[in-house]
């Protein structure tokens, strides 16, 4: 009898417990998150971990293609079907923030114990800022620096521990390294007629003291003149004009270019493909002691202002930010955090390259932020290409770009 009673009470307890569990599940807040991350990249994995906590919030994931992120997002927002959270490429952030399509997170960030603005690199933080308010949280970041082939440096009689520091040194080093008979160019980079061209050129203009608002100032003209010299003197392949950064660096890995300007996404492939000793250096500056700058890439988290669950969505962002610590180890991406050291990987070449990029990140600046960024970028690409093909002088090309940018209202 006693046993039976116990059994019944246990059964009842179990039933009520499972009932309660079911009830809780039915009341779960459902969030939708869009991102372009594949299964080995952060978003889907972080979501899995988040959902496993069973804290009453469940996130549904949808993967987008790179070219579709912006157009899908704006179509969804204008028809009222936007997701709660999205990851967005940093130069496109301002376009959404300025139209209040993204939620102003300033107050929530102020009260947050996990997301603190001072822990982020200034560049990525600036890209989520619009009108001095935060409309997102940097997800990851990257930048560009100089890779160089130490073996080719030695062969040309150069000190492999002394990579070029200034633009002049870069040109003279490239001249010494260029060897047409062996199919070796001094430098490889990308001046392609898409966002990549802007991404690579803007840091040069910024080191020269220009911004996209003063793109025809003296420093930017000088930068473009150096680029033109590189192509005119065949220190870089003419295909620089149509090659992506990834394809350009492939020629470096194959030993057909002695230096390359690209980002940390190259490291793993380079370790595998490059059959020589290579090193990294910060981007050369116009003259010794001049200000540094670099490009800034990668995506930000943002919450759409149309969300019905802003608190829960922000909680999810806090969870994602708390996982920044292991981001490099788990996914090979650099968190946008200045307070988190990138843990050593055990490969000295990789570690020293990462150290260069983390140092370079301190100087990384976002493109914009401007809601009209795509058009501004197009004007800059046109100027680069017009000058490098010799159809316009650098000054005239940048003047034209400046006039275009001013007419856009950048």
């Amino acid at each position: 009898m006693g046993i039976r009673r116990t059994m019944i009470s246990i059964a009842l307890a179990l039933a009520s417990a499972s009932f309660a569990g079911m009830g809780a599940r039915a009341e779960d807040v459902k969030l939708v998150l869009w991102s372009l991350d594949r299964d080995i990249q952060p978003a889907p994995n972080l979501i899995k971990e988040f959902n496993a906590q069973k804290n009453g919030i469940q996130i549904e994931y949808r993967q987008l293609q790179f070219d579709d992120v912006v157009s899908e997002a704006m179509r969804a927002f204008s028809t009222g079907k936007a997701p709660d959270i999205i990851t967005i490429d940093n130069p496109n952030h301002a376009m959404f923030a300025s139209r209040k399509a993204f939620l102003d997170l300033t107050d929530m960030i102020r009260q947050s114990k996990v997301i603190k603005p001072e822990n982020y690199f200034p560049g990525p933080l600036k890209s989520v800022t619009w009108d001095e308010k935060y409309y997102g949280v940097p997800k990851a970041t990257n930048t560009i620096a100089l890779y160089y082939n130490k073996d080719l440096f030695k062969a040309a009689g150069l000190d492999p521990e002394k990579p070029p520091q200034t633009w002049t040194e870069l040109v003279t080093t490239a001249k010494k390294l260029t060897n047409p008979s062996k199919n070796i160019y001094g430098l490889t980079f990308s001046a392609k007629a898409n966002e990549e061209g802007t991404f690579q050129f803007l840091p040069w203009a910024q080191m020269g003291g220009a911004t996209y608002k003063t793109i025809n100032s003296e420093g930017a003209v000088k930068a473009l003149t150096v680029w033109k010299q590189m192509l005119d003197e065949k220190l870089a392949s003419p295909d620089t004009l149509t090659r992506s950064q990834w394809d350009a660096t492939a020629t470096f890995n194959a030993g057909n270019a002695a230096m390359a300007i690209s980002g940390p996404w190259e490291i793993d492939r380079m370790l595998k493909d490059a059959k020589f000793q290579w090193g990294t250096a910060l981007l050369p500056v116009p003259s010794e002691g001049a200000q540094r700058s670099s490009a800034m890439g990668d995506f930000n988290w943002a919450i759409f202002s149309s969300t019905k669950h802003p608190k829960e969505a922000f909680k999810a962002l806090e969870f994602f930010a708390s996982k920044d610590v292991t981001m490099y180890k788990d996914f090979g991406q650099l968190p946008a955090r200045s307070d988190l050291p990138v843990p050593p990987t055990g490969n000295p070449q990789k570690d020293s390259a990462l150290a260069t990029f983390v140092e370079q990140l301190k100087y990384a600046q976002p493109r914009g932020p401007s809601p009209e960024w795509p058009k501004i970028s197009k004007a800059i690409q046109d100027a680069i290409q017009a000058a490098l093909t010799g159809q316009m002088e650098p000054k005239a090309a940048l003047d034209q770009a400046d006039a275009k940018i001013k007419s856009i209202g950048g």
Binding site: S71, T79, R99, A193, S237, L241, T251, N256, L388, T389
Partner: protein, 300 residues
């Protein structure tokens, strides 16, 4: 009621249904988007007004803005060069191949079938392969030209503004030739053999037979092919995306690629639509030629 019913099963009503079904289909799937596109070309459309139909009306400002941009004229000129160059190349090579296979040597039909492989390949794949072939430093084409002694230094097909458009045309000719060949081969086989026999008896040589029999008998096929070619080349997008991105400095940019760039890279949908409208005018011209040339087929 009965009259209406019988009219539908057999009579005027039946004709109306026959016309009505395809007409509704066309209107829904082509007509409305076309009208919507024309409407967009007179509006200011950005990402946030994409979902609504009522948007600020700007009259002809999109058109005026486009024609005051410095690159417009050269892009339109490129489009014409691309279309004429591609169609001429595709047609001439296609016709030559069709005539060649017409000789009907052993295995001719097999080989002809194999040529279609290029037509089935996705444009982006073709583009990626031509990208390697045309690459300046290590491209196969430059290697061949140098080894055969035709030139002494590399040509940067993709990156030299003098060649970039022709690089894409070359790839497009390769892509479209087989389609031309197949259609022309069908046309050739439709010419009755007794015409040639009679001409031969009258002492006409091969050249005379070609000019007086083959070409005139092929008129409608040729007209149709050129019209279709115009449509296909104006649709060609993948090759530009894969080979030059319209660069350097817009030297290989054409209207269709530019429309995409404006709409989906710069998010200026109004101007993108404007270019599409201008292109529609061209395509309508092609469609007229196509309809007129196929009309002959009914009579013949």
């Amino acid at each position: 009621m009965k009259r209406v019913f019988s009219s539908i099963t057999d009579g005027r009503g039946f004709d109306l249904v026959l016309v009505g079904v395809p007409f509704t289909f066309l209107l829904a799937l082509s007509g409305l988007p076309l009208l919507y596109n024309i409407l967009m070309s007179f509006q200011e459309v950005d990402m946030f007004s994409l979902g609504s139909v009522i948007r600020p009306f700007v009259g002809f400002r999109n058109y005026l803005d486009l024609f005051t941009q410095p690159e417009t004229v050269s892009i339109l000129k490129n489009t014409i060069v691309f279309v004429v160059g591609s169609i001429t190349g595709q047609f001439l090579v296609g016709f030559a191949l069709a005539l060649f296979f017409w000789i009907n040597f052993p295995g001719a039909s097999w080989l002809r079938g194999l040529f279609l492989v290029s037509w089935v390949m996705p444009g982006l794949v073709v583009g990626a392969i031509w990208n390697w072939i045309l690459s300046g430093d290590f491209g196969v084409l430059n290697f061949l030209l140098q080894q055969t002694g035709l030139m002494s230094s590399n040509i940067f097909w993709r990156s030299d503004p003098n060649f970039s458009l022709w690089a894409v045309i070359l790839a497009n000719i390769w892509l479209g030739t087989s389609f031309n060949m197949i259609l022309l081969a069908t046309g050739l086989s439709a010419i009755p053999a007794d015409l040639y026999e009679a001409a031969e008896m009258d002492g006409a040589n091969a050249w005379q037979r070609f000019w007086t029999i083959t070409l005139p008998m092929m008129r409608s096929t040729i007209g149709a092919i050129i019209a279709l070619g115009l449509i296909f080349t104006l649709q060609q997008f993948d090759l530009f995306a894969a080979i030059t991105d319209g660069g350097p400095n817009n030297s290989s940019n054409v209207a269709q690629y530019w429309a995409w760039d404006l709409s989906f890279r710069q998010y200026d949908f109004g101007k993108g639509a404007t270019i599409s409208v201008i292109m529609t005018v061209f395509v309508m011209f092609a469609a007229t030629v196509y309809v007129r040339s196929t009309r002959h087929e009914v009579r013949g």
